[in-house]
Amino acid sequence: MTKRDLPALSIIELRDFLRRGEISPSETLQALEERIDAVDPEIGAYLVHDFATAMAEAEKTDVSLPLGGIPIAIKDLINVEGQQCTCASKILRGYRAPYSATVIEKLRGHGAIPFGRMNMDEFAMGSSTENSSVQVTRNPWDLSRVPGGSSGGSAAAVAADIAFGALGTDTGGSIRQPAALSGIVGFKPSYGRVSRFGLVAFASSLDQIGPLTKTVHDSALLMNAIAGHDSHDSTSLNAPVPDYTKNLGRDLKGIRIGLPKEYMIEGVDPAVKSAVIAAVKQLGELGAEIIEVSLPHTDYAISVYYILATAEASANLARFDGVRYGHRAENVSSLFDHYARTRAEGFGAEVKRRIILGTYVLSSGYYDAYYLRAQKVRELIRQDFVREFEKVEALVSPTSPSPAFKLGEKTTDPLQMYLADIFTNAANLAGICGISVPCGFAQSKNGKTLPIGLQLLGKALDEARIFQIAHAYEQSTDWHKARPVIEPIAA
């Protein structure tokens, strides 16, 4: 292996090289930096990266630790002390985190090096990363397309071999959908499995931090590092954390997988549909029993999600008032003018839209009709999953109804953008775990190969089983081995 090939390694492969002393953590970072310099001008995944600080950490790291010396890219809404944390928003431009999130402390405890701040939709609101106030991120498989979102920078970086692994967040699909569109593995833990302390809140009852990686094994390894109870987050669950790699390699005999009939709907791209049908057949051949199940409230998930998520966002984002941190309007005429202009100047269009929708559904006279009703339908959606998980260990579906769409294709129609989350929203509402793994490719009209993702959903806290199923499927296919060829856009 040459240093040029080094960034293409999985975390497991890199770990073995580091442990054998064949390469050092500093050489790893240098090789990664060279690859970033060569490739990221085309992709736009990194907002910033601090090579000098990471090198100082690399020199002290212990490679015998589970993630010793491995750089991990961080979505720009998870605080790392001393580094920027802007949520890709103008309102937080220049903000420096005064403390580190629990997941960062845990990663460092396992020897990993947080490296780079990844682009995202502003405050994680979006499905294409086009709502970043800073820059466009392009899909490594086709530079005219989106990488998905909101963790689009994290996903594109892993897909383009400019990150070995990354942390993202998933509020309605923001890890799984970009993983699917970028051809990598994205994992959303059960609600409460991973501490949210130090994560900038979007919708607190839905947000979870999780890994984006090249393989299922890498995903399980990162979950081993970040999962667990945290006294700083009152919603984190005080439940034992198993070794998520322990079930990897087990076969699927005796495992029942449900195919929700409501998920094979019209409007799913034919290539996605046939790839998922083939993947389901493959799961059957691996020994799993496939059973048709029903989640009758599926059709309401997007409506419930966009009412509850915007309501929570409107409350969470009230903290951006231009007093304690962030942008502050100049020459204000009154306190009202101070708030209204500070926020008008700092927030982008999608954030403004969601604050207005959220404020409306919580406002007097509309609370019962929208917010309270949505909470009740959320409970019915949750009960759908509880009931079907008595019959099966996992559910299978497409992650996204289509492969990556064109930059600009959905930006003028928010509702169409919201519908990109149709298969992922419900898992957040129900608090269960889920993964997206590569399951095939579609051919675009412009002759590009576009990845397709398979979603597997599991019971709350049943992460180990989902990793087992996803790993068995992944290892029986070659989809995860394909890499994009990144062509220069400025020829």
Partner: protein
């Protein structure tokens, strides 16, 4: 229900100054979203308990022990305006 959304009024509640173009655009776009969400009216929610969280946890207490936290300088490190170890706010009382 959808037609009752008054974006200009709600923007005031949310302390958000919008341009005339933004107000008009959001009125149309959010009108579409609310129209889509009207399908929730079909659902029979009688007797269903509202779920604020998927995993309800109640009464989480920590030990009431003092511990180190931000110093004033750390808490003020991102303040847009500060003086004498304090945040400067815009005048509240006329």
């Amino acid at each position: 229900m959808a037609s009752e959304l008054d974006v200009a009024y709600v923007a005031q509640l949310a302390r958000l100054q919008l341009t005339a173009q933004e107000t008009e655009l959001f009125q149309k776009q959010l009108g579409d979203v609310l129209k889509y969400a009207e399908k929730l009216k079909e659902v029979n929610v009688e007797g269903v308990e509202a779920a604020a969280h998927a995993v309800p946890i109640f009464n989480v207490f920590r030990a009431d022990d003092p511990c180190d936290w931000f110093t004033a300088a750390e808490a003020l490190s991102n303040a847009p305006r500060q003086a004498n170890n304090l945040f400067i706010v815009t005048k509240v009382v006329e």
